[in-house]
Every structure is written in C-alpha cells, then in structure tokens.
Symmetry: C2
Subunit: 458 residues, 2 copies
C-alpha cells in the first residue's frame, strides 16, 4: 500500500514539498493530499502589494501553478477551502473542515508536512476588526483590498513601517491616495539600524507619505462598523482605509496544540533536514524557526524564498533523497517607488546582543560611474566585528541599481569574510554598472579602518 | 633629504600609488614626480566608449582629478606630455622626453613605480596606419575619434569582438552609423564560452550590427592615405571609419629593456605587495601580470578596477603601510545598448586547461518575478568542477538587471564554494528584484546536478 503524505498549507513551502516528493516517488508509492484553507494555492504572497498598487493587473499571474496542474499532472490531491483544525499524533491523522459545515473529517497520514505559514500581527485594540481595516497576508486579503479601492477611498493609513507597510504605502501612493504611515518606533524598518531607517523615512516623505514615528497605537475609530480614523497616543488620523503591516509570527498554534515542539521564536522546531522532533512529521516555511548563521540563534523570518527552499528540502527528503536547509543570514530587499532598501546579516543592536563588538559606518557612493547617465546615489552601512574584522551585517538605501548589491555582501557574510579581505574582492566594473571602486568595496574598505588588528595598515 | 619617488604613467595605477604614498608621507619626507606621456592624467579609460557614443558629453568629466589638484593640493609633481624613454637601474634614474625636442633629461629616483599601462593589439597588416583607423586606448584616442565623427562618416567597421569592440559598436550604433563587426573567432567575446558568445552575437544582430565571425583579417584598403575598406580572407567591408578593439597586452617593453623581469603573459612580475624583484621598483596596473585565484596561474587583465586597487596597494606600501593585492577571479561586465554581459572565473576551456573537469550548463530565468513589470530574460552559465563541486566560472547574458548578479558568483568563487552549498545561499528576494529562486540559485542548483559526489541527491 502506498505511503500517505498529508501537507497542511498549500502555498510555497507546502506545495514545494509536495512537488519534490512527487518527483521522486510515484503515486503507487506515495499518496499526497494537501489541504489549503484559502481559495488559492501556490501563489506569490510577496506579489500582493503589486497587485494592490496596479503593477500587476491579473490575480492569476501571482499563482505559480494552478490547482488542476497539481491534481491532473502531478497526482497531488490539493483541496482548497479545507482547513485542518487538529493534528492527532497518536491517531496519525488530521481533522479537516471543508467549509460546507458539519463535523470535520479525519485524514490519516504516515508522513505529515506542516506548512501553515505565518499570522499577521493584528493589534488587540478597539476597532481592529472594523470594516476597512485590512491585513495583507493572503491572496484573499489582497483581492479584498483591491475591491475596497473600487469605492475610491481618499485617505489611507498604513500601520507599521516594515517591508509590508512600506510596499503597501507605495501601492496606495500609486493608486493616488493620501497616505500616512504610523510606526511605534523612532524610525521605520526596524530590520535596519536607526540611521539607515531614517533614510527610509526621508524617502517616504519624499514620495509624499505623511510619516508619523514614535506613535503608539491606541485604536481605531469607527462609524457604523466602518473605520474612520486611526488613533495613536498623540494623533487622530482620519482614514477611509487602514492597512496593517505589523509583521507576522509563525502560525504554529495547530502544531503546538498537537505537541509538536515550538521554539522561543514561536516557530516550529526542525533540524536542517526540516524534520520536527516527532517521527514522520516535517515542517517548512513561515511557520518554522531557522538558524541564523551569524548570531547562531534561532530566528523566524517569513519570506517566500526561504519557504520555497525549505519546502524543496522537505520534499527531497520525503522522496528518499538527502537535502538540508543551511540556515539564513537575514537577507531582504524591498522597493518603495524609486527607492530601494536592502539588508543582510545583523544590525548593530543584534550584533551586540550576539556578543560581537560591532563597528562600521555609512558610506555614500553611486550606482554607476559618476559621469555615466543614470548614476544614482546610494548609501551602504557595513557592520563588522572589531576584534576579528568579520563582516556581520550590511544595509543599503538607494535608488535603481543599489539594492541587489546586497547579494555580494550576503555571500561574503555567509563565508565569514573579513572586511579587509572583502576590500580586495574582484567585483565587476564598467561605467554603466559601477564606479571604479564598487560601493561594496568602498564600504568594506571604510569598515576595515575600524578594525583593531589592522592597526590602520590597510 | 627627502626620498625621491618617480612614477611612470599618470593614469589609474600610477596616480593611485602617488596619492596613497602622499597621504602617508609628507613632501619633506617623500618627493613625488609622475610622468605621463599623454595630455591627460587620472582619467577613466573605460569611459571612452561612452564619450564616443555621446552618453558622456564632457571630456573633462572622465578626468577624476585634474592635474593642478595633484600639483597644488597634493604636492605631486605631475608632468604631462612627458615620456619616459629609458629606465637605468644602475644610475637609479629615468630618461624623460618632454615633447619640446632635444635630448631626454635624467630624473633620479630612490623608489620607482612602473605604471605604463597596456598597448592595444594593432595588427601588423597593410594599411593599419591609414587615416581613419582608430584605437581606443587613451583619452587622446577618444578625442580623436570624436573629432572624426564630425565628418559624418556613414559606415564603420569594428575589428574585434571583445569588450572594447562591443562597447564601440554600441557607441557607433548610437551615433547612427552603419556598423559591422569582424572577429576572427567563431563567436564574439572570447572571454565567454562559445555558447554564451553566440548569445552576444544574436544581441549584436538584434541591434542592427552586421556581424562577421570566423573572418581572418587581411588588411585595410586605403585611398589617398585614408581607409576605405577592411579586407578579410572572404570579404571586403567598405568603411569610412575603422575602430580597432583587438585587446591589449601589457606595456612592459620599457621595464623589460631595463632588466625588470617580465612573465609569460608579457606582464611585469610582482609579488602581492606589487614589488618587482628589483629593490625599490614597483609596478601596478595594466602593465603587470597578476595571480588568478582559480587557475593559480599568472594572467594579465587590463581593467581600471584592478589598476586602482594595485596602485593603492603600491602607494600604501611605499608610504610605510602594509597592503597586498590578493589576485583576481577574472570578473568583467559590459553593456551593449540594452544587453548586458558579464563573466567571472574560468571558461570551460580555461578550466580544462587548468586541470579541472568542468561541467555545467545554461539556465534561463528572469531578472524579476515573472509577473512583475520589466522582468527581462537572462541566461546564466555556471561551470563547476565535477569531482569537487566547486564553482569555477559563471557567465551571464541578459538585459537590465542581469549582469551585476555576477558579483555574488564572483564572491562565491573567491571563497571556493561548491555549487551545492551555493544553492542554499540567502540571496535577496522581492518581486521587483528577483524571482523567488534567484537566477543565481537556479544556476547553482542545476550545476549541482552534474556533480559526481552528490549522486543526484540534492
């Protein structure tokens, strides 16, 4: 009899796992059932802001594989609008509600993949459930928000200045709304150092966004069940539309209730092969915690690229292969209109917390040779360990052509390079692509001046 | 008495050396004289094609520091139009012609920096000296070519399909000329594998360039001293203007005549601190050979970014500091209109020659998420060592946003990463910047399938 694989969650991690397992084991050997509680599966959640902003006009284009492809071509029994409400590890079965009411039905498994994603931080504040307050977690959220735009709202407030908040601010600016952004911190983008976050705040203001920082949320005003304003400790911001971009946390409640161990980040604990400590139970994607290669600590980072990789690793292993997810260095990138923001590694604060002695600073350079048309200013901050010279983190704020440079820095961090060695790296140079000293090299060189053992020598 | 430093060559390497030495030693301690045979110093030779093409309209913008800045602010005695014609190591002096005729004068030195750059490959063919045949080595060449465009030439032939040839083809297309490109090889860009070079040929044709490959040059036809056509074994290509882009070789004749050792590449031999084997004599820039970190062999690569780094290292060392040039991995990038080309590491042929067993292939992906506006196709070829899985080389042909990805690959090669490990790298992802699997990750993953020891497992 075929082994039974059940996948909970039909997005990046879950469907990657299912696909990889299927590639290696045919239907006679492995039966695969995937449950997705929403109406869409296998879509790019990261694309939602661009759907709302109008850069992407077709919802379907965010779907990488249509449900029937899984069913008809891959023999994966994908069931939409089917929510797993319980995992019973003793019975080796999950309870599923299919949305048609009635009792949940039980589906048995031999192998289980938990890929339940993340849940948005939704503030426990008066009015948070009012009509007109939107999250942007699922494609269904995106579609709902898109529909709300048809009523031609005039004023939008984005709560939270992280990636999603920023991208949603761009989307709403593009749609012609008056946009305010509220963040409790003194600068947006808490994944950056405050001095780099301040550059992002400047960029937002430059785009016409009203930026309110250091504002503690108090609640939402409503009228007839509809949101009318966002209230903070000091302000009342009128709003026809509110978008919550308060970050996410791993959606691990279902797993935890079943007794699957959850870590300090509230992400499900796995080894590098994506096995939970429970025999035959795997987890992947935004619901797990992973290993940060610089801090050496567990982190939970909700990001499609990790979810895809982890899902792939899971599926290969279930399929009888051998694959590992090697952890992360915290690389991320975002665009807000013409501005680009990127980061990798640890912030200064996180580096201190991890026991390093971070030094470094910001350098300004250009994306191309200064004389070449289209050269744009960019700033790079590098953070190095004073004692060893090792690069710990890097952050970029700039315009076209700036942000993707973070990858070279991420690879350097991955390999535990020192900033001194990095300043000799053979990076590509031609006037349309870089000044003769690429900004990455300048940043490394400047950081090297702060390193103890170099003694100012190189 | 102050030590006397003489620098031969007033471009990137020479003036970086002079500047760094000055930063660390004042004029009372070190007297610096720099001789430049041309009319310009400290300019971006890499910018010349863009001057000819019209993207850069001001010759002066290519000059990074004006001569008077060196003289007035840095106490560096920079002498333009002054050609060093002999180095006498016994007398510790150089003979200089200042262009006003008469015998050369002798300038003594304690320390000498040879930064004589490269000489263009100029074919020893009938008619090669005809009027209308241009090199693009110096800023003076660029200015001459710019002047030639004022006569409104109609047909141009570019001889040589390397970086300079390609960039000059773009420049002349932009100026509205009918452009033909001739190369003796079967594909342009001999620094790429032929299958990637073929993509460049396609791009050139797409831009309206008439591409003639596998055509051995026989000479130039002329009339009244002016070039009228380029003649190959099979073709006669009418030309009002000919641009030679036949690559360069180290300009090491002066050093060699003085007894300074020159290597198999014809580049001057130095150690990593840029010292020649002759006490007190340094060399830097296009005239030296350097160390290729993958082939472990000497190479001569004429590139402004290496020249700057080597000059800086030289100047720091002369200034009493300690710096090293760590070698290269052969990274390069170029743009031809909307096409971008980049490479790093070894080609398949060079990898074989260096004793590796290269495997790999080409993958196609996009620069952004497929659904995001402006996503462009790009192809990456990765070359890995079959036995160890180590990445040996990578090549990219694509459009906007493609080429700078070579840097992540260059850093991976620098650190001797395997393609298997690379496929787990934490590279930046967001729809405006990459598909959920960055093309670099896909390329690494595909290459990993060819590696022996993985046995198809990951």
């Amino acid at each position: 009899m075929a082994e039974r694989l059940v996948v909970i969650g039909g997005d990046a991690a879950g469907m990657s796992a299912a696909s990889q397992a299927r590639r290696r084991r045919g239907p006679e050997d492995l039966r695969i059932v995937a449950f997705e509680k929403g109406a869409h599966a296998s879509y790019s959640a990261c694309g939602i802001p661009y759907l709302v902003g109008g850069e992407v006009t077709d919802v379907e284009s965010l779907v990488s594989r249509r449900p029937e492809v899984f069913r008809d071509e891959m023999d994966i029994d994908l069931r939409l609008r089917s929510e797993v409400v319980e995992i019973d590890l003793d019975r080796r079965a999950v309870a599923v509600r299919d949305g048609r009411g009635g009792d949940p039905s039980w589906e048995p498994f031999d192998q289980l993949v938990v890929a339940t994603g993340a849940v948005p931080g939704r503030p426990d504040l008066p009015g948070a459930d009012a009509e007109g307050v939107y999250g942007v977690q699922t494609l269904d959220d995106g579609v709902a928000l898109l529909r709300a735009l048809e009523d031609e709202p005039r004023r939008a407030v984005v709560v939270g200045g992280g990636y999603i908040g920023l991208e949603m601010a761009e989307a709403l600016v593009r749609r012609g709304l008056e946009v305010s952004l509220v963040d409790a911190a003194e600068q947006p983008m808490s994944t950056l150092d405050p001095d780099m976050g301040a550059l992002v705040a400047d960029a937002l203001r430059d785009l016409g966004v009203e930026v309110h920082l250091g504002e503690r949320m108090e609640g939402f005003e409503e009228s007839g069940g509809r949101v009318t304003a966002v209230r903070t400790a000091n302000l009342t911001l009128p709003a026809d539309l509110v978008v919550l971009g308060l970050g996410t946390r791993p959606n691990s409640a279902l797993a935890e209730a079943a007794g699957i161990p959850v870590g300090e980040t509230s992400g499900i604990v796995t080894d590098r092969r994506m096995r939970t400590p429970v025999e035959g139970v795997w987890a992947a994607g935004d619901c797990v915690e992973t290993f940060h290669r610089v801090s050496r600590r567990p982190v939970a980072i909700a990001l499609g690229t990790h979810a895809n990789k982890q899902g792939r690793v899971t599926g290969i292993n279930i399929g009888g292969g051998h694959a590992s997810f090697p952890g992360v260095v915290g690389t991320a990138v975002s665009k807000i209109c013409e501005y680009e923001v990127a980061r990798t590694g640890l912030t200064t604060a996180a580096a201190e917390q991890a026991g390093f002695e971070p030094v470094g600073g910001i350098v300004e350079s250009t994306t191309r040779a200064g004389y070449y048309p289209g050269a744009r200013k960019m700033k790079i901050k590098t953070i190095a360990d004073r004692g060893t010279g090792r690069l710990l983190g890097a952050q970029i704020v700039g315009q076209e052509g700036a942000a993707k440079r973070i990858d070279a820095l991420a690879v350097a961090i991955w390999n535990e390079m020192t900033v001194e060695e990095m300043s000799g790296l053979d990076l590509s140079y031609a006037p349309p692509f870089a000044p003769v000293w690429d900004p990455v090299l300048i940043a490394a060189r400047k950081a090297a001046e702060h390193i103890d053992r170099l003694d100012g020598k190189a």
